[in-house]
Symmetry: C2
Subunit: 396 residues, 2 copies
């Protein structure tokens, strides 16, 4: 059936999807698999405080990523906070503004002021040049962010940070399972932090993981996290409960067993979008940057209003009406969010690339709750929205 | 069988308990009950971000305690931290040194310096007079701690705090289900924070809960906790991921269904200890203070070396050798722990009552993994240790 302008839900038609297609990963085991994993917890009656499943998970992640220390935590935000504490950071940290607000908030928890840098308009990642451009007195570290199933220029950032004697941290919340030519993400900088939230390809429902090859840093983090006396005690100034429970670890272990299948499913969906959207004017799908193997965790497009005929916000409203839970991450940039707009007012108008991306980027559904057929349908809606742009614009 | 000195494990005998009797609560559902609770999560595929079980748990706790707002969080330490942030505290907070170190660490996370006060030698709780004695410039709040299935003098502390215009917070980590003549614990001060750790009578394996009758404070806490857009947005400076997952909420809901039975079991154990130890010289069991209904979460004794014939540390070593996981909480006092010994060296020798309790207090096993028969056996070991004190002292 050919879709006319009146068939769109925003113009009075029926929504294409009867129940909303979620944007996130949301992979989760079936009941039988879940039962197998958690029955043991109940038999052992060991629920928290660095139990056997948490220890197994850490060991499995260390092997999978080839990193000396994997330290699982209650969530990724706390992970970044623990790294900041364990490194004893004081002052300011350079980071991109184009990131989930938790990157900046985690450092603020540790009393550290973010200094926001620009990102590359094509890759959406920060560069050494962008960091150099905002270097100022009081900067004590750099936190780069790996986005959209890809990475920043990790060796370039490592060189730049080394030349300025600044510790480099990666917010790799999105990047579990991503591989560069130099090795798996998780082994770069002083430490990397993954998110194991339900919306990530590797999930503990809530959770996160700090990876580092630095054994002394890992010991400090273990003590700050509060493992209840596991391994060598280190005198740390502040101890924080950042523990992951056994139940969360059980889910993450299943998630790790299954990760290749999940990435393959993501890839099918991503390639369906890519093929179907390649001929739609003004829509550019963002390819994973700088990697030999992506987790395809995100399907992100940039909308050029002049070529597409509708703005990103128009398209967002059209697709939401059709039952497609698209998201406008990240909007606004962290530099425009409370409290950073007040802490660093001098940066409000200093990041035009970031401001532009916040107006043009759209996340499309991908993950366990989406099929390639759904992706084809969503891409079709996007194509038809372009065709009927003039008629649809007044409706949204 | 009459126990002679050579029958003790520390003197070469066999341990009384083949597998260690744990000290904590460690209540947990049987598999069938667990399955009933968590199958729904897998059917709904909603795992985090303030899901239906978290909302149900908050509503149930509000009803159970008669409080306007219950806000569940990832753990109790984060709960205290969120309260400190939401109240905008800056400066110093008066609190007892005789508490779990997390009380002090949670405020330090928020950049606040603890000012430690003494506790009453009989009840182990801080008093208005103890707070008054340490009042100094820069104090912006008071955090009292409710211990051992009892409470501090809550109305007295409320009067004192009001007279100094200081917000009063309660660390009620141990006190879920405890009732005073004036009402349930959870409704006092500006806010109270419970722990739902596995070692507590109300358990989510890891978890905590903030209670407050102040709706504005609750809204700020909800936004700092990050509920992903649930309810009214409030501009807060710092947002922190303090969310509880659905799986944790499922366990807490079962825990709440079952709490009266669990308290009854605790009470049986507590009374067994009380009756059996009443005639042992130098052993005083600490009765729940100031309450009409206790949760009997702890069985705590004070050991007077001069009357008992052995020190608390001697008895600790004897019982550990027998397979009884007794604990010397809290030792040392928070004022002697890193980093508070350096932050407030002027307080190192200022708290003799606290230092004394840290030398004489012992926690005995109570909870799901202990029977009244175990308690009678442990009390018997304590009686016989007194009888054979001279012979046992060189062995430990």
């Amino acid at each position: 059936m050919k879709r006319g302008p009146k068939d769109f839900a925003c113009a009075g038609g029926s929504p294409t999807f009867a129940s909303t297609i979620p944007v996130g990963q949301l992979y989760f085991p079936e009941w039988d698999q879940y039962e197998a994993a958690v029955r043991g917890i109940i038999q052992r009656r060991y629920y928290s405080n660095h139990g056997p499943l948490v220890r197994n998970l850490e060991s499995r992640v260390e092997t999978y990523l080839g990193v000396r220390n994997a330290l699982v935590v209650a969530n990724g935000t706390l992970g970044l906070y623990l790294v900041a504490l364990a490194l004893g950071l004081q002052g300011k940290v350079i980071m991109p503004s184009f990131t989930f607000i938790a990157t900046a908030q985690a450092f603020l928890m540790a009393g550290i002021e973010p200094v926001f840098c620009e990102v590359d308009p094509l890759t959406h990642h920060m560069t050494p040049e962008a960091a150099e451009a905002v270097l100022e007195d009081g900067v004590c570290a750099v936190c780069a962010v790996n986005l959209w199933g890809g990475t920043a220029n990790l060796p370039g950032l490592e060189d730049w940070a080394r030349s300025h004697r600044l510790p480099l941290i990666f917010d790799s919340a999105h990047a579990f399972g991503v591989q560069r030519a130099e090795g798996m993400v998780g082994r770069f900088g002083r430490a990397e932090v993954f998110s194991f939230h339900a919306t990530k390809v590797m999930s503990a429902t809530e959770g996160g993981c700090i990876c580092t090859d630095d054994d002394d840093l890992a010991e400090r983090i273990r003590n700050i996290r509060s493992d209840n006396g596991i391994r060598r005690p280190v005198n740390v100034a502040l101890t924080v409960n950042g523990r992951m429970s056994e139940a969360q670890a059980a889910i993450a272990l299943m998630s790790l067993d299954d990760i290749e299948r999940r990435v393959a499913n993501n890839r099918n969906i991503f390639e369906t979008y890519g093929a179907a959207l390649a001929t739609v004017p003004g829509v550019r799908i963002v390819e994973p940057n700088g990697v030999v193997h992506s987790n395809y965790q995100n399907a992100v497009v940039e909308i050029s209003e002049s070529e597409y005929g509708l703005s990103r916000d128009h398209l967002w409203a059209i697709l939401r009406a059709e039952g497609v839970s698209v998201r406008r991450y990240f909007r606004p940039g962290a530099h425009r969010c409370v409290p950073f707009d007040k802490i660093r007012p001098q940066q409000l108008e200093a990041l035009p690339v970031t401001d532009g991306l916040c107006q043009t980027v759209l996340q499309l559904p991908i993950g366990a709750r989406v099929t390639p057929a759904d992706a084809a349908t969503i891409a079709g809606l996007m194509r038809d929205s372009h065709v009927h742009a003039e008629a649809l614009r007044p409706r949204v």
